[in-house]
Symmetry: C2
Subunit: 518 residues, 2 copies
């Protein structure tokens, strides 16, 4: 990460250096930030090589025989034709091995730079990066219930993710600011990530020109040349499953790939609707779609950073409603992670997914049933890691806090086990012996501060103490936490000249854009 040293300075505070910055951070009521996860526990890889090879062979069959539609983008079809694919109308069929061959230029891992170099993240290998929920048009909190989201909510979630030590990333559309015109809101979103956080962030994908605006703003922060040579944005490109890439997504993908910015190519699948009702059928389709999207990025610019994305859950076959936290998507996640590693590209999946309408036991179980597979399966980039509620329609303030707390648990778990002499603890067993206790022994005294992970949300007190404290549940405690965090929030330093330039760009750009909010 020596390139970090070439990163242009965007904040006055950073020049003070690490220790002073940390003191300053503590002074502002901010919890000590954790770096992204470098997993120090093994992966759980339930699929055998034979099984994975079968899925790969089936995916090749799908690509050769059925193919994938690239809609509303003549340039993309020409590019595929030139690359050797069989193009008829919108349909592109891929000779065996073509897609894999194109993927040879995709990096195994890459750095996404943040404007604060301490917050830069490595995507791929044994890394795991937690990013907030993406996309909900609604918010929920205990005080107001459920309502449409605003730019104020957007800023709030950016601030909470900035302060939460387990969020390594500021994310993208942490909620849809529906009070700002559709054609303009991407500017406010990108600006908010830059202004209110110093963690890495995502660009807009809702139209190619909005992707261009995102790149322009990133270049104002990081410099033209730096952006051309390094990843400073990661961007979510959904396949329109089954087997379609539409013009909007392909357009955004082209902008980002050509600008050398990362694209997460993610089939968005609810099995039973957008894919077959089986795990293996779903994996076959995911592999076909993700591979083609990532290969197309390589056609746009060989070496452009890409991520194999998977958003896969199921529907209720009774009602058609999306379901989360069920066992079949867990299998899909483990399988897709193994397939991505065999392709040699980073993997995105997981998150705090749930169908529950409130932050109850259902929400937590469904969330845990995605987080555990995501962590053990080796997800590199975890979008939706905190705050997701109600099938992704709602960004929940309280759930954000509860999820973020759980993420610190997973981060600690990922550190693995200490086998040093101190970790072995024989001295403690010798000191204490049979029938006594370890509460005050020397080994405990020497280790108690860091011995155990501590939840900031769980109440472990006695029933009587808990009752006397008001008998609150986790959601009520989380409500107090996010309000306290927002009260204590202090923005990271940003060069005033840069801030002014960004605002001027936005103002000028908005002049030409319509005011429709639908």
């Amino acid at each position: 990460m020596s390139e970090a040293q070439t990163l242009p300075s965007t904040g006055g505070r950073r020049a003070r250096g690490g220790a002073e910055a940390r003191r300053a951070a503590r002074g502002s009521g901010m919890a000590k930030q954790q770096g992204f996860i470098r997993r120090n526990v093994p992966l759980y890889e339930p699929f055998t090589t034979d099984q994975l090879e079968l899925i790969e062979a089936n995916a090749e069959t799908v690509l050769q025989e059925i193919g994938i539609d690239f809609r509303d983008d003549a340039e993309a079809l020409s590019m595929w034709k030139a690359a050797g694919a069989d193009v008829k109308g919108d349909r592109v069929r891929f000779p065996k091995g073509l897609v894999r061959a194109l993927l040879k230029t995709a990096p195994r891992e890459f750095v996404q730079y943040a404007r604060n170099p301490e917050r830069s993240v490595t995507v791929g290998g044994n890394s795991t990066i937690f990013a907030p929920v993406y996309g909900p048009p609604f918010i929920r909190n205990l005080d107001e219930g459920r309502r449409y989201a605003t730019i104020e909510d957007f800023r709030n979630f950016v601030k909470l993710a900035y302060m939460a030590p387990s969020l390594h990333h500021s994310g993208g559309t942490v909620c849809e600011p529906v009070d700002i015109p559709v054609a303009k809101r991407h500017l406010d979103m990108v600006y908010s990530h830059i202004r209110y956080s110093d963690k890495p962030f995502m660009g807009s994908v809702t139209a190619p020109e909005r992707a261009e605006d995102s790149v322009t703003m990133a270049k104002m922060v990081f410099g033209d040349e730096f952006v051309d040579q390094n990843c400073v944005m990661i961007n979510l490109i959904n396949a329109n499953s089954p087997l379609v890439f539409d013009g909007t997504m392909v357009g955004a993908l082209k902008v980002y790939a050509r600008a050398n910015q990362a694209t997460v190519v993610s089939p968005f699948i609810l099995s039973g609707a957008m894919s077959a009702v089986t795990v293996v059928g779903t994996l076959t389709q995911i592999l076909a779609e993700a591979s083609v999207g990532m290969a197309f990025a390589q056609l746009c610019r060989p070496g452009a950073p890409v991520v194999f994305g998977t958003f896969a859950s199921s529907i209720s076959m009774q009602s058609g409603a999306p379901t989360f936290g069920t066992p079949e998507p867990a299998h899909v996640l483990f399988g897709a992670a193994q397939l991505a590693r065999r392709l040699g590209v980073p993997f995105r999946s997981g998150g705090s997914l749930c169908a529950s309408k409130v932050t109850d036991a259902q929400a937590a179980h469904e969330t845990a049933n995605t987080l555990w597979p995501a962590l053990l399966g080796g997800v590199n980039f975890m979008l939706h890691a905190a705050g997701w509620l109600e099938g992704g329609l709602v960004s929940s303030y309280e759930k954000f806090i509860i999820d973020a707390d759980q993420l610190t648990m997973f981060q600690r778990f990922s550190e693995g086990v200490d086998f040093s002499e101190n970790g072995q603890g024989l001295s403690a067993i010798r000191e204490v012996g049979p029938g006594s206790h370890f509460l005050g022994c020397a080994h405990t005294q020497a280790n108690f501060e860091t011995a155990f992970w501590r939840s900031t949300i769980a109440d472990n007190n006695s029933f009587e103490q808990w009752r006397d404290d008001g008998g609150k549940d986790a959601t009520q405690r989380a409500n107090e936490t996010w309000k306290r965090m927002l009260r204590e929030y202090e923005a990271p330093a940003l060069d005033p000249a840069l801030d002014e330039a960004l605002q001027a760009f936005m103002a000028k750009r908005k002049e030409g854009l319509p005011d429709s909010v639908a």
Copy 2:
């Protein structure tokens, strides 16, 4: 399991045969029962062989140099002396290799017979058995809040476990019936398991004579000879950590081992209090304690079925309160499971552990953070799998239902992935093609009934539908579920003569016992 054919008949209905019995079960509103889990997914084994060997060497050091106390049991000390151990006072020190050598007679797996042969379970190998919460003096439900448990509650939890398809076992002290005198309640507990369920159950361990009573009652059900040759009860023997076995537990262990009944030897550990504050130190102590307890069972009767038990969590180093769902105990669980497999004995751990006072997001996250490691770590016998609340002080009606629902999720996950031609689903992808959907395709039609696991507690409806249905959270829905189950409960058939004999035995036995309830 050919021995099942020799099992004495205890119910009139069973003679009717499987299909008719299943129809009868459906008629009684009972969900289709699932057999115990035969895990068809790989284990997660994060510890390396070198690491496990280091722990084993350290445990030998503890056994040789420090030793373990056997208190208030002169016979046990004599037996250890005769076996070659170094006995000084209550302290027993074990020459290197002695404990492992004794464990050679312990079975790798064994069948625990139920009075309904369809409910018998195999403990060990790739099996996982879910049993209810064990031990709480309190209950909680939405209607009454928290109060002391009664024999009525006890019967209710036995009935719920009987009806829940994911509970493969009736458990033991599903709650403490504190309305019955201490010296008598074991009789009512064992009777309730026999009368209100036909699943396998646990005996009393609170005094040697109560263990004898449990064996006597089991013999009335299964016959003297059958019990002497087969396991019909599994019994929880806690080590008094650190490094002590007390007279009560050793007394009960002797009764059960000599009767050829299974003992689960479980160090009960909250790290920081009963063990060192490190994962490896805790594992070292667990291995030492569990091995010695199981070896002692082999001294009592070579070949007696034993289970390597582990109940390990941590305490808050700030307040001393027990904590659950934290990462350190997850590491301990994975490590202990690997150590047990290396010893060649079945493993017990896991459960719906939590510190929360109510069935909220905290309770669910903490529970999930034990259930996932337990399932992937390969727990064979999972006590506390449903209903645990508030650090084990409370048996919760609603949490029992929510946990039991999650257990069906884990059971489905454990079945693994279908790689048949139908599972591969290529025909579906061919039929549907790009840009359409899979909702009505032939492959979906052929598979939709069994394609996806269905929660009985989750609400996946739209926000509007959910709101119109009353806006209930998971706890409120679970409250309705357990009440409906108890309304619909029908007892399994029991030979009236046997029932009469059991009641007569209890009445006579109670005559000589004191009425104290404390």
